[in-house]
Every structure is written in C-alpha cells, then in structure tokens.
C-alpha cells in the first residue's frame, strides 16, 4: 500500500505538470481533494468511535501524547535552525520556512507576501517535501519506533491528508492525537511564520 500511495502522489504531480489531465480535472483537483478528505474523516471517525479501548487507553494511560505537538514545534524549529548552517539562507529565513509545518500553500503565500517570491518558492517546496517524506516515513516509524512518534513528520497535515495513513499504520489512539496535533500546528502556522520574517 505504501508504494501505491507514493506512486499515486507522483502520478498526480507528473500528470498535472506534463498536461496529461484535462484542464477541467486539474481545475477541480482542490474540490476533489476536499471531498475525498471528508469521506476519509468520516471513516477515520467511525473507526475511532468503534474502538472504545483506544479512547480509554488514551485517556487513562497515554495522556502525555497530547504534548506531542509541542515537541514537533520545538524539534522543527531546531531542525530549521541547524539546516541554515548548511545552506545559503539566514537562520530567520530557514526558521520561517520550517515553521510552515508541511502546510505548503499557506506558508508559501505568507512568506511571498512578507519577504520575497524566492523564499516563498523555497517554503512551497520544503513543505511539499515534508508532506511527501511523511507519506513514506509514517508507516516505517509507526512500525519501528512507535505510534505517537510516527505522527510527527506529518506536521500540520496530520489533521487531513496524512491522517488516514496514521490511522492505518499507527492505530486509532494515534489518529486521535494526530488530529489534535494537526489542528494545533495548523493554527500556529500563521502565528509563527511571521515572527521570523
């Protein structure tokens, strides 16, 4: 399944980039993504509601998992700062790009408006890469490291695009935490990105 997921994502990128898809389909891609997401959220919700043990386990044993978003924020910013030591960008610019937490559309727009189109392009790509790498990493980390750590790469996308992947590979408890994680990080993007610009 993981290979299929990566292949379908790449197929979508290439199909749009090389004009294989009709213009109408490309124009509607946002709506189709949105409706697929609603359906997935219903299914993920259904699974959570069905697995009462997962909810109880989270409330009684794994309460700490709700602190995961704060670890993601701190780790992402440390990573953004260290990345600036290896590339030709200032620490603030690199931190602003990293603070997109995978939400490529919003962070790129904010950075383009507040700083420059070039840095906006870097933000777009860096956050697209974060989302693509997450699709690859979530199943591996869920299996080898642990369910809650597997939420982390997805950043702000764990409340939408990467949520079904987390639910499938890390389980229902992780899906509940992932939704809260994505919700908190998405709310923080428009607050943290401008701080560094």
């Amino acid at each position: 399944m993981i290979f299929l997921m990566v292949i379908f994502t790449l197929l979508g990128i290439f199909a749009a980039q090389f004009g294989i898809l009709p213009g109408g389909v490309i124009g509607q891609s946002g709506n189709i993504t949105e409706y697929s997401l609603y359906l997935l959220l219903l299914i993920v919700g259904y699974d959570i509601g069905r697995d009462k043990d997962a909810v109880m386990r989270l409330i009684t044993k794994d309460k700490f998992a709700f602190f995961v978003p704060f670890g993601t924020v701190i780790g992402t910013l440390i990573g953004g700062y260290i990345a600036s030591l290896f590339i030709n960008l200032s620490a603030n610019d690199s931190l602003a790009v990293a603070a997109g937490f995978g939400w490529y559309s919003l962070s790129a727009v904010i950075i383009t408006k507040m700083k420059s189109a070039d840095l906006g392009s870097i933000a777009f790509l860096a956050n697209v890469f974060r989302e693509l790498l997450s699709i690859l990493l979530i199943p591996i980390i869920a299996k080898r490291v642990g369910p809650y750590v597997s939420i982390v790469p997805g950043g702000a996308t764990t409340m939408d695009t990467t949520l079904p992947i987390i639910e499938k590979y890390a389980g229902e408890s992780a899906a509940i935490v992932a939704f809260a994680h994505g919700f908190i990080l998405s709310a923080l993007v428009p607050v943290i990105v401008p701080i560094f610009l």
Partner: protein, 91 residues
C-alpha cells in the same frame, strides 16, 4: 478546519451508536483505500499544476530538501525523547 472537525465528529458518533452490520468492515476497507489513493493523486495534481514547479525545484530544491529533512529529523528526535521520558515517569 471546523469542517474537518464536524466530519470527524459525525464519524465518531456513527462509530459509537451505529449497530454492527455484516460486511461493513470490508466495504469500509475498500472505500478507505480508494479514497486515500484518490486524495493523494489529487493532492499530487494540486502540487504539479504549478507551471513553474520544475524551475523552482532546479533553483531551490536542495535548500528546500535540507530544511524539510532537518525539520523532520529533529522533530522526531525531540518527540522520541519526550515520549520515552513520559513513559519512564509513569512507571
């Protein structure tokens, strides 16, 4: 964001209150796989429809890859340490 929460909540309520029906698991599993692939394909279309994507990757790809890789790596390290510390504290 609120819409997502509403759809998730409706799903949870269904999960709690809907009666068990034979065959639902299989249909749900197929529906889930198809909609995940559909979502990822059209997410890819959303990324690929930018006509300047190739130019952006050629000019800024390496910088972007370094930032995303370090962000992911260090967030994994921080949360891994956090989860272990909490678990140890609980014992």
């Amino acid at each position: 964001m609120v819409k997502y929460l509403i759809f998730l909540s409706i799903g949870i309520l269904f999960g709690i209150f809907a009666p068990e029906i034979n065959g639902v698991k299989k249909v749900k599993s197929i529906l889930m796989s198809v909609s995940v692939l559909c979502l990822l394909f059209f997410m890819g279309v959303g990324i690929g429809k930018d006509p300047e994507l190739k130019l952006k990757i050629a000019n800024f790809g390496l910088n972007a890859l370094v930032i995303s890789s370090f962000s992911i790596l260090f967030s994994i390290i921080v949360v891994f340490i956090m989860v272990r510390a909490f678990r140890r504290h609980q014992k």
